[in-house]
């Protein structure tokens, strides 16, 4: 166990879906990161990120201001933000980036923030926890591998990166958006076998407000993705975003109802897989709250 001095500390931006729908994502983020030298501190007073599709499509100024308020909270803590949701990443990372580089917009946002005695200064950076796990300067794949006590041997896992994490490419810094493999490396580090599948970088179907606006259209996209994943015999889907998780997990129930197609592929956030591999119990991870039963997967790996 590392001493506290060596821990990399981040303000942990929870988001909404993880704590409300998949508490295991939240729990595993805090517990797994502590075992690889990352301490996640509560970002008290944080609101919704706010959801980039729903808010950004309607009023960008609200999106900027709310995200900026969350950033100000972390600035007050003098900590960079770590988060576990691609939607949050889009809002918090991107607004931080935009406001740092657009003086005029920053002035307008700060006018709004003045009403609550806050000011965006641009003093912190924003990271997805998964990129910190992959970054050897913070953690790195080897440290993840070393932290594993129960390797998830024998399970084929299909990786879903999610759109907002990597795209648009020119506004991100995570490299290749067409055929990346760093998530697969993390999956291999927990002992599972990452599998390639057709059209891996396709959207989950939920993002950009599509799930809220036109559920059938969203599910149609999800269904195509599930067909491609089931073709290669994946035992589970892993993603980096509770909203993608919701779409694949709840979506399988909705697809069964609406289209009659049945897949029963468990869907686990990478944090949950890492938690299992580090010895957390399925109860600790609240896997019973998942819509698709995780038992077959658990029986295979535990």
């Amino acid at each position: 166990m590392q001493t506290m001095q060596n821990m990399h500390e981040y303000a942990f931006f929870l988001g909404c879906i993880a704590p409300n729908r998949y508490p295991g994502c939240e729990a595993s983020a805090i517990k797994t990161s502590a075992k690889v030298g990352i301490k996640l501190l509560p970002l008290e007073g944080a609101s919704c990120c706010p959801a980039p599709g729903a808010f950004g499509s309607i009023d960008l100024n609200v999106w900027y201001a709310m995200a900026a308020r969350n950033l100000c909270l972390a600035e007050q803590m003098k900590k960079d933000i770590a988060l576990i949701c691609n939607g949050c990443y889009k809002s918090i990372y991107e607004v931080n980036h935009i406001l740092k580089h657009d003086e005029e917009l920053r002035g307008r946002v700060n006018e709004i923030l003045k009403e609550i005695d806050m000011e965006f200064k641009g003093t912190i950076d924003v990271y997805h926890l998964a990129e910190l796990y992959y970054d050897p300067k913070v953690c790195g794949v080897q440290k993840i591998r070393d932290s594993v006590t129960t390797p998830l041997t024998g399970a084929k896992v299909a990786c879903h990166y999610g759109c907002h994490l990597l795209k648009p490419k020119k506004e991100r810094h995570l490299g290749d958006t067409e055929a990346p493999t760093w998530f697969e490396e993390l999956i291999a580090a927990v002992g599972a076998e990452p599998v390639e599948y057709r059209n891996k970088m396709m959207c989950c179907g939920a993002g950009g407000g599509v799930r809220g606006y036109d559920i059938v259209h969203a599910l149609d996209i999800t269904n195509e993705k599930l067909i491609n994943i089931s073709e290669v015999g994946a035992d589970a889907i892993s993603e980096l975003c509770p909203f993608c998780q919701l779409q694949f997990d709840r979506g399988q129930i909705e697809i069964k109802e609406k289209f009659g197609d049945v897949y029963n592929i468990p869907v686990l956030h990478f944090n949950e897989l890492l938690g299992l591999a580090q010895g957390m119990s399925p109860q600790d991870l609240a896997l019973d709250l998942h819509a698709v039963d995780c038992t077959p997967f658990l029986e295979k790996v535990l």
Binding site: K170, D176, E178, R198, N199
Partner: protein, 672 residues
């Protein structure tokens, strides 16, 4: 002109139609000029560059006994020569002329609602020019003889054509080619649009002509190492790369009677080392001793010393010809030339970095030059187009146009410009597969079809009528079916306004082009600039497309910007014509803007020697003192030495300290 008389300056302000007069008060400027010190005469006129305008200058010189002329008009790049000649014809030394640029530097940039300010600025400009004109001196241009030889760098169709033209005009021409054979890109092509001539069939005669022309010395497997000198007197050091094989002339020089490479190929038959052939983009093998293809010029084998294991089998096979020398080293011969033409051509961009199209990731995505080799009868498959994944004949092929061209994504790979020949060769590719493979479907994914050349639009209609499918949309991404290795091409059909997913057997990327690897280093050696898109910069995009800003250096073909074969050949002929002019005249006149060392006050410190970018300065012994001396022919008049000299002993002709100080004073102390 009497040296000691008071300066008498004549000022002529040009309207340039409304170009100048529309934005500032020309008459006011001319009236103001009359009030300036040393001005003996001032006038304004509609078009100073016209014959009546020039006559005004000539007549005024005589009538008002002028010693200096100022014309306030356009950029000296346009009409300085015109007015210098008028000055000369009026009886003054032509360097007694100074131009105030009140068009490009004034009226054109102050067009709207700045009339008074523009007029005031024009007065400043005229006042400064008058101040300098009062100090102008007679100068004599220097003539230097021109070496009666030229060099062409790059042995593609552009370089070959330029060399043939120069040589046929009686000029000794060195044709330098980096690879072992001339021919360039054109020799890799199967057919040429829109006539569908066999590319190699029409190129080979030119290659052969270049190889045996008495005035052409073919320097294949050579690269430019170093360049010194100036127009008329360049000294170019080449790197004669160790080829490992001697031609008959080289062998004879070493006393090997009747020896040297005759191209029999006995060596390659016994060579045990197999490497990919870069001419075939690695799709066919070659040995460590090799020729690129059957029609190479010169037909001399080359040893790849990076691959050769020096087993000596080839030496034995060569026998009495003794052509092979496995211990050969690079040599550095020097060539004296008068003028040079650069014709270095193009490469494809690293199109694999456009990750969305999957080149080098998906086996059946190839680029257009690979397609040329695969469809070419002399290519690795004997002209049978096959899928790299399984060797099957494709039944549907997609052509992705603008694969990195007209691309503003700023991802470091895409190019904002049009690569100019991809539309046409892709139409030709579509024709070729439909003709060669029965039932094979061709899909062209395009933004616009740019069929601008002679008989090109007709060719476009012809391919439409042959049944090629045209889908207007940029390809978003290409996915590979993991089982069949078929490709799914995703795009939006912007004419139908709907997304498209087409499954195809094969995709050909019409990759954007960029300057050849090494072209940047080469052009810097010759002092040639690049335009913002990276291609070599011509002297003027419209009126001097073959020249560069370095006198004596000319451009031909794609190295100056994307162009097809007809345009390349045309530019090569233009460049050859331009490059032959100084050689035929026999001497070039250099502008007399040299540095002059005032040796009586030069301390001989030598600080300037190291600063000179053109190695034009030397220290010499004179009357027992060490002083600096300028080689005028080498001096470009940049002023580096003059600005630096601690003792003020270097005079920059036409930009002397009194002239410049007078201008500065006129600006700072004058005005209304």
């Amino acid at each position: 002109m009497a040296e000691n008389s008071e300066p008498r300056v004549g000022v002529f302000v040009c309207h340039c139609g409304t170009n100048i007069a529309g934005s500032l008060d020309v008459k006011d400027v001319a009236e103001y000029a009359k009030t300036l010190p040393n001005v003996a005469y001032a006038a304004e006129y509609q078009y100073m560059c016209s014959t009546p305008g020039q006559n005004m200058i000539k007549e005024a010189i005589d009538k008002y006994k002028l010693t200096g002329i100022v014309v306030a008009a356009c950029s000296p790049r346009l009409h300085e020569p015109t007015f210098r000649i008028a000055t000369k014809e009026g009886g003054l030394n032509m360097f007694r002329f100074e131009m105030a640029n009140i068009r490009e530097q004034n009226s054109w940039v102050h067009m709207h609602g700045m009339h008074d300010e523009a007029t005031a600025k024009a007065k400043d400009q005229v006042r400064m020019a008058v101040a300098k004109a009062a100090y102008l001196e007679d100068l004599i241009p220097k003539s230097v003889p021109v070496e009666k030889a030229a060099m062409v760098v790059g042995g593609g169709v552009g370089g070959i054509q330029a060399a043939l033209d120069l040589a046929s005009a009686g000029i000794k021409t060195y044709l330098v080619e980096r690879t072992p054979t001339i021919g360039g890109r054109m020799s890799q092509l199967d057919k040429t649009f829109p006539t569908l001539d066999c590319s190699q069939c029409i190129l080979a005669p030119k290659m052969v002509d270049a190889g045996r022309h008495p005035n052409i010395e073919l320097l294949s497997y050579h690269e430019v190492e170093n360049v010194e000198g100036y127009i008329g007197n360049f000294e170019v050091t080449l790197r004669k790369k160790a080829r490992g094989v001697m031609n008959p002339v080289e062998a004879a020089a070493k006393g090997i009677v009747g020896g040297g490479c005759n191209g029999c190929g006995d060596c390659t038959a016994v060579c045990p080392v197999i490497k990919p052939n870069p001419f075939e983009f690695g799709m066919a093998p070659r040995k460590a001793i090799y020729i690129y293809h059957a029609q190479v010029v010169p037909l001399i084998y080359t040893v790849d010393f990076d691959a050769c294991v020096k087993c000596g089998l080839c030496v034995d096979a060569c026998g009495e010809k003794k052509a092979i020398d496995l211990e050969m080293q690079d040599e550095f011969p020097k060539y004296k030339i008068g003028t040079v033409i650069l014709a270095t051509g193009y490469d494809f961009i690293p199109v694999e970095e456009k990750r969305e199209w999957g080149y080098k990731r998906h086996e059946n995505v190839i680029h257009a030059l690979e397609f040329e080799r695969l469809i070419c009868a002399s290519g690795p498959t004997g002209g049978h187009l096959v899928r790299p994944s399984d060797g099957a004949t494709p039944k549907s092929v997609g052509f992705v146009l603008c694969a990195g061209s007209r691309d503003n994504t700023q991802d470091g790979v895409g190019k904002p410009y049009c690569s100019r020949f991809c539309c046409m060769y892709s139409l030709k590719h579509a024709h070729q597969i439909m003709e060669k493979i029965e039932g094979c479907k061709a899909y062209i994914f395009y933004m616009d079809i740019r069929s601008f050349g002679k008989a090109y639009e007709e060719f476009y209609y012809r391919i439409q009528n042959e049944g090629c499918k045209f889908i207007r949309g940029r390809v978003a991404n290409i996915l590979e079916d993991p089982d069949t290795k078929n490709l799914h091409v995703f795009t939006e059909d912007t004419l139908l306004g709907r997304p498209v997913d087409i499954e195809l057997d094969m995709v050909v990327l019409a990759s954007a082009i960029q300057p050849r690897d090494g072209a940047t280093e080469l052009r810097k050696k010759f002092g040639v600039s690049a335009s913002s898109d990276g291609w070599m910069l011509e002297a003027h995009p419209k009126l001097n497309p073959c020249g560069t800003t370095t006198a004596g250096v000319f451009l031909a073909g794609v190295c100056q910007g994307p162009k097809d074969i007809p345009d390349t050949v045309a530019q090569a002929e233009g460049a050859a014509s331009a490059a032959s002019i100084p050689i035929h005249i026999g001497e070039v006149e250099l502008e007399p803007y040299f540095a002059q060392c005032m040796q009586d006050i030069c301390a001989g410190c030598g600080m300037c020697i190291k600063l000179c970018p053109y190695s034009a300065l030397d220290l010499v012994e004179k009357d027992g003192r060490t002083v600096m001396q300028v080689t005028e022919a080498k001096c470009k008049g940049c002023g580096t030495c003059g600005g630096f000299c601690p003792g003020g002993a270097i005079k920059m002709q036409h930009f002397t300290t009194p002239q410049i100080v007078a201008q500065i004073d006129a600006y700072l102390l004058g005005g209304e």
